[in-house]
């Protein structure tokens, strides 16, 4: 029995008692409903389906409420999509970094590059009127030049082109932009489904915990905000979440050719979305190694086939893109990695460790101060970046709640962290002699730890290498699924009779938080 299943077992026994206490007629009714809806495994579970509708509704609100290009780097991400759609070519060879139409819209709405850091714009009917009067004269196909995103891998942009095209060939840039934003909600839904699956795999399909975990990610305003804008992170969150799920499936149920291929395909998709997926590779290699190791005695041939297929499914698209990028656009396929590997700054291990120390701990006497970040909420970087901007920092990281709110966010974060860690420790101790703990619990923990540590390390290395503020809380969102599961796990510290109330409070709290953030956004730009 795994450490997670220890939790499940107790609940199953509890459910059985509840079920037996239920009148026979009620049991017949529910059985009849299940028969009408189809067998489990062949349909979307109803709680998830309803949650997805709620997530989609908030996604639509965020996609349409956010002004054009008012999420991080949205101008260049949209330019990539526009270039693929309008020029049928990768960006890099076009005449301008952004098309005339995009420049015009950005300038009219106060989102041009010169406006960054300026006071928030106000939508003006005068500008709208002037803008619409000359909208048709601006070309949407004269972009395609180099910009901050033109070296990115293409997966998200290619898929989002479908949304762009749905607006129609004669559509204005406004229609194209919002069609692309709305289409991106598909990835938010995939992320939510991924968390549901991940939590299901970890908790033995304990539905209330699955619902809480999935809702915590799908209804998390920062995740909704990024996923409902034109930004490859939307697909990055989805693909990483699904990789985590498939990794757990392999570690729990074993490696097969199909699972290996699915796992590798998902990692390849993540790689083709953003080069930061390199941080996921050590964890993925660990899963593959464990899977093959377990197969070695029973079927060495099967192990080799599964391993070989996994490698091929991963390597072929990833390498193909790298070659294509060199040939078609004359740049490396994963150029973002230069943030870590590039010779921006000479690496000094002592200095790097000192920087990391100051990020999390008070500076020691005699320690050199490092330029860590732009303090908005706090000059304590770990709080400012990972907590505050992970909870709520919209726009171009310039839309914040009043500062007094953030200590509450910090307190909730600590509470969830402590509660989930305590629960994990208790279950681990309780099952310390269980062979399942070593066979499943420990490998899963190592898998998650590798993914987290390498991602976090890579982000710190990038920031150190750049020598200035770089990190944002949302950079950890590829692991949002783990955070969702942590909240669900934290809930299980409640006494059994209070768990349903805990589920309700979390769901209600998420909806209130969504409204608060939408209100913040609306007040900032439109009030």
């Amino acid at each position: 029995m795994s450490l997670w299943e220890a939790l499940v077992d107790r609940t199953t026994r509890m459910r059985e008692l509840v079920r037996r206490a239920q009148p026979r007629a009620a049991r017949e009714r529910t059985r009849g409903r299940t028969a009408r809806r189809g067998r489990p495994g062949t349909r979307v579970p109803r709680p998830l389906a309803l949650l997805l509708v709620a997530v989609a509704l908030f996604g639509v609100a965020w996609a349409l409420l956010d002004p054009p290009f008012q999420s991080p780097d949205e101008d260049v991400h949209f330019s990539y999509v526009q270039t693929l759609a309008e020029r049928q070519a990768l960006p890099g060879s076009g005449p301008n970094a952004l098309s005339d139409a995009e420049n015009g819209l950005a300038t009219a709405t106060g989102a041009g590059p010169e406006e960054l850091g300026a006071a928030p714009m106000q939508m003006s009917t005068t500008v709208d009127r002037h803008y619409l009067a000359q909208l048709t004269h601006e070309s949407q196909s004269d972009g395609g030049g180099n910009n901050n995103a033109s070296g990115y891998p293409p997966a998200y942009y290619l898929l989002d082109t479908l949304g762009y095209e749905l607006a129609g060939p004669q559509a204005s840039i406004i229609d194209h932009f919002y069609a692309a934003s709305l289409f991106s909600i598909v990835f938010l839904l995939l992320t939510t489904i991924g968390v549901w699956l991940l939590a299901g795999e970890l908790t033995g399909r304990r539905r209330e915990l699955q619902l809480v975990a999935a809702a915590c990610v799908g209804l998390w305003p920062m995740v909704t905000f990024i996923s409902a804008s034109v930004n490859p992170d939307a697909l990055l969150y989805a693909s990483w979440t699904w990789v985590l799920w498939m990794g757990v499936v392999i570690l729990r149920r074993g490696l097969t050719a199909r699972r290996g291929a699915a796992f590798a395909g998902l990692i390849a998709l993540a790689m083709l979305t953003k080069a930061s997926t390199l941080a996921l590779l050590p964890a993925a290699i660990f899963v593959l190694a464990v899977g093959m190791w377990r197969l070695r005695r029973r079927a060495i041939q099967r192990a080799l086939i599964a391993g070989g297929l996994t490698l091929a499914v991963f390597a072929i698209p990833v390498a193909t893109w790298d070659v294509a990028a060199h040939l078609a656009a004359h740049h490396a396929g994963y150029g973002q990695t230069t943030v870590i590997t590039g010779p921006i700054r000479s690496f000094n291990i002592r200095e790097f460790l000192s920087y990391v120390w100051e990020y999390y701990l008070p500076r020691l006497p005699g320690q050199q101060p490092h330029y860590l970040d732009l303090p908005v909420i706090s000059s304590y970087p770990a709080y400012e970046v990972w907590v505050a901007s992970g909870w709520a920092a919209f726009g171009w990281v310039d839309v914040w709640f009043p500062h007094g709110i953030y200590p509450l966010f910090l307190a909730i974060t600590i509470l969830v962290g402590v509660a989930s860690a305590a629960k994990l420790a208790r279950v681990t101790l309780h099952n310390r002699r269980s062979p399942q703990l070593l066979a499943q619990g420990v490998p899963i923990a190592i898998f998650f730890a590798l993914a987290f540590i390498v991602l976090l390390g890579g982000l710190h290395l990038s920031e150190y290498n750049m020598g200035g503020p770089f990190n944002q809380g949302r950079y950890l969102f590829p692991l949002a699924g783990l955070a969702g599961c942590a909240v669900a796990l934290a809930l299980t510290v409640l006494p059994r009779r209070l768990l349903p109330a805990g589920v309700g409070v979390v769901l209600g709290g998420l909806v209130v938080f969504q409204f608060a953030c939408l209100g913040l956004e609306a007040g900032f730009y439109y009030a």
Binding site: T30, A54, A108, G110, Q122, L211, L499, G504, V511, Y526
Partner: protein, 251 residues
């Protein structure tokens, strides 16, 4: 009480308490419209009783009864300033106000406007030094002069050139164009939360696909307020139904 009821009630109670708390926390009853221009440096220096500085056209979203801007002069004898709101097309005076001499140059200054400026016309904000010393008006200086002179051309020029502004703002002193944009915030009389929502939805309908108008935002608000809680309440119901059904199947 069954688990499903407890969970549903907890959800609804949290929602009601949270939304009421959000509504009560709203205390910013004065609408503010800024020009989207940072306070970076001096855009123009006005001499005593010299020509006035005018910035426009400005399209107000709401009627304004005050304007805050950033003058700076040598303390302590900072000069009095006359503020005039003009119809940008005819030059007619729509409202007047002023800043008294001796203002603190380290802080933005507010001029109350009489009468309240309506949204009927595009306006220009004009400031005149009526004291005895020079005064600088702050905003984003430099750049864009060529574009401002061009009167059209690229998209950037159509929108007050590529500076940090959202209005078609041209700044002039005594009729001569100045390179830069001034920072200013127009304040409106206090409004109700209903008016605030109406204005917000009207502004959020600009630069949007044609199906997004105020009606769309009202409908979406209703759907989010009523539909999402309903979906989640039903989701909880389905959760426990499914659990019961699974137990039944195992039997």
């Amino acid at each position: 009480m069954p688990s499903v009821r407890i969970a549903q009630l907890a959800l609804l109670a949290t929602l009601v308490v949270g939304l009421v708390a959000l509504a009560l926390s709203w205390n910013d009853s004065r609408h503010q419209q800024n020009l989207g221009v940072s306070v970076v440096g001096s855009v123009a220096t006005l001499v005593p009783h010299g020509p006035e500085l005018c910035a426009g056209p400005i399209g107000l979203g709401e009627p304004a009864d005050a304007v805050t801007f950033n003058p700076s002069a040598q303390p302590p004898d900072t000069p009095a300033l006359e503020v005039v709101i003009r119809n940008v097309n005819t030059g007619a005076i729509l409202a007047e106000g002023g800043v008294k001499a001796g203002f603190n140059p380290a802080e933005p200054q507010t001029a109350n406007l009489t009468p309240t400026v309506s949204t009927a016309h595009d306006i220009s904000l004009c400031i005149r030094d009526v004291g005895a010393r020079d005064v600088s008006i702050f905003g984003v200086p430099g750049g864009g002069l060529a574009c401002a002179n061009a009167h059209g051309g690229g998209a950037e020029c159509s929108f007050g050139h590529a500076l940090s502004t959202t209005t078609t703002l041209h700044v002039g002193v005594g009729g001569r164009l100045v390179a830069g944009q001034i920072s200013a915030v127009f304040s409106s009389p206090p409004i109700s939360i209903g008016t605030l929502l109406r204005n917000t939805f009207a502004h959020a309908s600009l630069f949007r696909p044609s199906f997004v108008g105020s009606g769309f935002w009202w409908a979406l608000l209703v759907v989010l307020l009523l539909g999402v809680p309903t979906l989640l309440v039903r989701s909880i119901r389905a959760l426990y139904d499914e659990d019961t059904a699974r137990s039944g199947e195992r039997e």
